[in-house]
């Protein structure tokens, strides 16, 4: 079937093509269908060239094929002829039938016009009749409409007259929403006719509305109502044209006022914390200030939450309030820590404040309270650390100054020792305490502390570095070595007792050797974290540098002590040598009293030193309890020595200078100015040496007559014994005393020394006198 259908289709297709080419002689369309075999042999193509086709056929095919082709073509041509004949017939038929149809149409149309005229007439009559009905009913309809309007109006009037009652009912049932709706509905009418017809009505309803407003306001202000209800109330009030803004302002003001109640006042802060501790035992939570505070803050944050919902446009204001509260908290905390506060108390307050902040942050997350307070907390903490150190410093200097070191007590009693021990304890205990406190800070688990751990460590390190540095500076100021710039000449160096300087010196040694290593350990153990912080100048706490600083300070202070002491003696000596006219000096009668004063000063030094400084390792034997006998024996031995010296003096008075020069050449140069050590002996020796050197210098500035020289000789001779008693370096003392004698003889116009017996006698007399004096003072 399929094979049969295909040539059928072929044929039909060809027919159609031919037809279409006939009707529409557009070659592009006709060729489009059969373009597949569009070539020279395609007879149907428009570009078919018969001659070419023939040539090609002849060339390509043999005779048989050509004959076959001829037969085929003849058949095809015959077919085409019949097809064309058929087409002509068909078309002709169609043309004839079309002509018939037109003829029929012409006969049908005829007679339609009369019907149309009839229709028009009928419609016209319908219209005139309907107009008649309309005019007859118009008046009645008009009347009905009027009646309807009147009825509406009457209903409204009725509503307005009913309004007060209805409002009252609403008030009773607290259906404020309906009431407001009614009122606002009646509003336009009341506005227009309120002054005339509905005066009473208006008044009554206004009264009712006023009540409603009042109720709404109280509802708005009352904290017991639910937030929803309050928000509704606010919305209703707004609908009633009540100035809500002023209400809002009032409310916020109230809120602001309540801030005062929330403040942690510095004076209350301590009780807040104290009660925190005590009430834990008693469980009296209702009287608990901290609890009260917490509730208050909770209330505050609730209020904020409420207002935020009620007045969405007031956020800024609320933020401001919350920030103000936070800022105030931290301000108060700063005030609070101005007084001394322990770390525990500080933490207590801090915790409360932090809780408050967290509470508020929950309500107002956009206010960035936690950032704000983190910043403030950093500042506060930093201040706290700094303040702890400054308090410690204050403590130490208080301990030092607490004892009124006046001349007598300091020397006689054990006061210096007490001061030293107390201050040592203050330093050591103080640093231990402070680090304990700081450890509490680090252990604290409140959110912000964990973040700031590194910072805190850094602050503590830096703080301790600064602390020791400023402590050193303060020591120097206290000692009068450097005058502090802020109180110019407030304390002149005369008023600072030398003993205090000595204590400070020893304290510096103590800090260098004991305290700083300990602090270093503490920091290494607990506060090393801060190193990760990038400090520009390396780690903040440099124990090596501090040790150096305090070492230098201790030496400086010790030197300063010796200086102040020798200065006193120096003044004494200066007076002694300035006053008399040495060229006209009278025969020496007795040992001059400045010697006593000099020895007294030395004694003071000895006593002070003994209280504060440790004993040296090298120590010459000394019997302090048998003082009296000791001096006499030594003085006797000295007489012998002096005898020798006196003789030599008289013998070679003239070539004295040459002699001393020669002696110096052979004698090993005695080291007068050795380094001072932190021992009792070293300090005393240095003082004595410096004083004797001063004595020599004063002698060199004078010119003596014989008696003047003898006076010096006598005084020096007397000094010899007690000085040697006090000092470890006897050779140096001998040397210096001899130097004084030599200096005096050089400056003497007429060197004749006192005879030894006279010398001895005068010295004995002096000894007896001083013994008697001592005796008198003891007995009195």
């Amino acid at each position: 079937m399929a094979t049969e259908a295909a040539p059928m289709d072929e044929k039909a297709k060809r027919m159609r093509d031919l037809l279409s080419s006939f009707y529409a002689p557009d070659p592009s369309i006709s060729t489009s269908g059969s373009s597949i075999n569009a070539s020279f042999d395609n007879i149907n193509s428009t570009s078919f060239d018969a001659d070419q086709y023939m040539d090609l056929m002849i060339k390509k095919s043999n005779l048989e094929v050509l004959l076959q082709r001829h037969v085929q073509m003849a058949a095809e041509i015959k077919n085409l002829d019949t097809d064309l004949q058929m087409l002509v017939y068909e078309n002709y038929n169609k043309f004839i039938s079309a002509t018939d149809t037109i003829k029929r149409m012409k006969s049908n149309i005829f007679g339609m016009e009369g019907n149309m005229d009839q229709l028009l007439q009928k419609i016209m009559s319908v219209q005139s009749k309907s107009d008649g009905v309309n005019t007859s009913l118009f008046e009645k309809r008009e009347h009905i409409e009027k009646l309807h309007r009147t009825r509406n109006l009457l209903r409204k009037v009725q509503f307005i007259y009913d309004l007060p009652a209805r409002l009252q009912k609403c008030i009773k049932s607290e259906a404020y929403g309906d009431a407001v709706r009614f009122y606002t509905g009646a509003m336009p009418i009341l506005k227009v006719y309120g002054d005339t017809s509905f005066q009473d009505c208006r008044r009554a309803s206004e009264e009712a509305i006023e009540i409603i407003i009042k109720n709404l306001q109280t509802k708005l202000f009352s904290d017991s109502e639910s937030i929803q209800a309050r928000a509704e109330a606010a919305v209703l009030l707004k609908q009633l044209d009540v100035p809500v803004d002023s209400l809002k302002a009032k409310l916020l003001e109230k809120l602001e006022q309540s801030l005062d109640g929330l403040q942690i006042k510095p004076e209350e802060a301590s009780t807040l914390v104290e009660h925190d501790d005590s009430s834990n035992d008693t469980e009296s939570n209702d009287q608990h200030p901290a609890k009260i505070h917490e509730d208050a803050v909770r209330g505050f944050s609730e209020a904020i939450r409420a207002y935020r919902e009620i007045f969405p446009d007031s956020e800024e204001r609320l933020f401001k309030l919350a920030r103000a509260l936070t800022a105030m908290h931290f301000e108060h905390m700063e005030l609070y820590i101005k007084k001394r506060v322990s770390a525990a108390d500080f933490l207590g307050i801090f915790r409360i404040v932090w809780e408050d902040v967290v509470l508020m942050d929950e309500v107002l997350p956009e206010a960035a309270l936690s950032d704000l307070s983190a910043e403030a907390a950093q500042v506060t903490l930093k201040q706290f650390v700094a303040r702890m150190f400054s308090h410690l410093q204050q403590d130490i200097s208080d301990t030092l100054l607490k004892f009124d070191i006046n001349q007598k007590e300091a020397v006689e009693g054990e006061l210096l020792k007490v001061v030293l021990e107390a201050s040592q304890k203050a330093v050591l205990q103080g640093t231990t305490n402070i680090f304990q406190d700081f450890r509490q800070l680090l252990d604290e688990k409140t959110g912000i502390f964990i973040k700031m751990k590194d910072l805190i460590s850094g602050w503590i390190q830096k703080g301790s570095q600064d602390f020791f540095r400023s402590l050193e500076a303060q020591f120097l100021v206290l000692s009068g070595k450097t005058s502090s710039s802020n109180d110019i000449e407030g304390k002149s160096s005369d008023k600072i007792h030398a003993g205090l300087i000595l204590v400070l010196a020893q304290l510096s040694v103590f800090i260098e050797q004991k305290v700083i290593p300990r602090v270093t350990e503490e920091i290494a153990a607990s506060f090393s974290g801060g190193n990760s912080q990038a400090f520009e100048n390396g780690p903040a706490f440099i124990p090596g540098e501090l040790c150096r600083v305090f070492h230098a300070a201790s030496e400086k202070l010790l030197q300063h002590y010796i200086d102040t002491r020798t200065q006193k003696v120096s003044v004494l000596l200066r007076k002694r040598f300035k006053t008399p006219n040495w060229v006209k000096h009278k025969e020496p009668r007795e040992v001059h009293m400045y010697v006593d004063m000099f020895l007294h000063e030395l004694e003071d030094v000895g006593k002070e030193v003994k209280q504060v400084l440790p004993q040296g390792t090298f120590r010459k034997h000394k019997r302090t309890d048998s003082n009296g006998s000791n001096t006499t024996t030594s003085s006797r031995s000295n007489t012998l020595h002096n005898d020798k010296m006196a003789r030599s003096n008289s013998q070679r008075a003239r070539s004295q200078l040459f002699e001393t020069h020669l002696a110096k050449l052979f004698k090993q140069k005695v080291e007068i100015f050795t380094k001072v050590e932190f021992t009792q002996e070293s300090v005393v020796t240095t003082t004595v040496k410096l004083c004797l050197k001063s004595l020599q210098e004063y002698v060199r500035l004078q010119t003596f007559n014989r008696s003047g020289f003898q006076q010096i000789q006598l005084d020096i001779q007397f000094l010899k014994a007690p000085l040697k008693e006090a000092v470890e370096d006897e050779a140096a003392i001998d040397f210096l005393l001899d130097e004084v004698i030599v200096a005096a003889s050089e400056r003497c116009l007429d060197v004749i020394p006192l005879e030894p017996p006279i010398l001895d006698k005068l010295i004995q007399a002096k000894l007896a006198k001083s013994k008697e004096h001592n005796h008198n003072t003891v007995s009195s």
Binding site: S483, S485, S570, K578, V583, L657, K693, S694, R747, C748
Partner: protein, 351 residues
Amino acid sequence: MQGGSSGIGYGLKYQARCISDVKADTDYTSFLTGTLSLKEENEVHLLRLSSGGSELICEGLFSHPNEIWDLASCPFDQRIFSTVFSTGESFGAAIWQIPELYGQLNSPQLERVASLDAHVGKINCVLWWPSGRCDKLISIDEQNLFLWSLDCSKKSAEVLSKDSAGMLHSLSGGAWDPHDVNAVAATGESSVQFWDLRTMKKVNSIEHAHVRGVDYNPKREHILVTAEDESGIHVWDLRKAKVPVQELPGHTHWTWAVKCNPEYDGLILSAGTDSAVNLWFASASSSDDKTSESPVESTRQRVNPLLNSYTDYEDSVYGLAWSSREPWVFASLSYDGRVVIESVKPFLPRI
């Protein structure tokens, strides 16, 4: 810091206290020094540093009637100088002239130009007009200040004006301000006092005890350096004289004399009774600024203002003088009569 014995030494016969730079001698670096001997005949030595700087030559030796407590060379005439002397009982001051052809004389005698006889009392020092040819002199005793007018040709000196400091102050020395020729500082027992020579009135004072030596900084106005018995050396700014600008440790015992270098600002020399001469560098100018600037640097500077310590002396050093011709050279004189000339050149690059 150990002072090596690099110095050039010269021995006087007797003890001595004072040495002075001969400022007017522009050809040689010379110093004048005088002995202090109560009983022997005292001498004035004119010393000259050889051109190679390796030797100290005694250019002239003159006898002086009394022991010399102070000696100052005239700034404009190298042959003129002043001395303060003591006879044992009383003090006096005189202006002397070295004879012109002293080299050719056997035993040249000093010519006395003038004696400041009108000044009785324990004279401490004579100050010359700080620079240039001016015939003004100042003599200071324990209580008084005299301003003199000297006439070399007439060989006379007249008192122009005087003022008393009062009994209690007991002045001990002084210095003439090179920047303000009307200002003179005098050291007293409890203060340094300043006089205005035009009115001859005390104008100012620094309350500071036991000042021994005083010197103006010749390179910088208003800066004054003092040496004290116990407390070392202080540098003051006279415009704010309450607190010293800088403090130097000084000497182990008293600091006796202090001299600012005439050429190198901040270079200070001090002599002490601990038989040492110390060379300091005091950045006095702006020590305050520096501390604020960088603490590290200032501590370093504070640690070591001492450039060198010359310790090669047997006795206390009282005499000290910079050479104005060769400002890196100074002369020091210890009590045993030893003059030592040292050069600070090795320390100059460090400034």
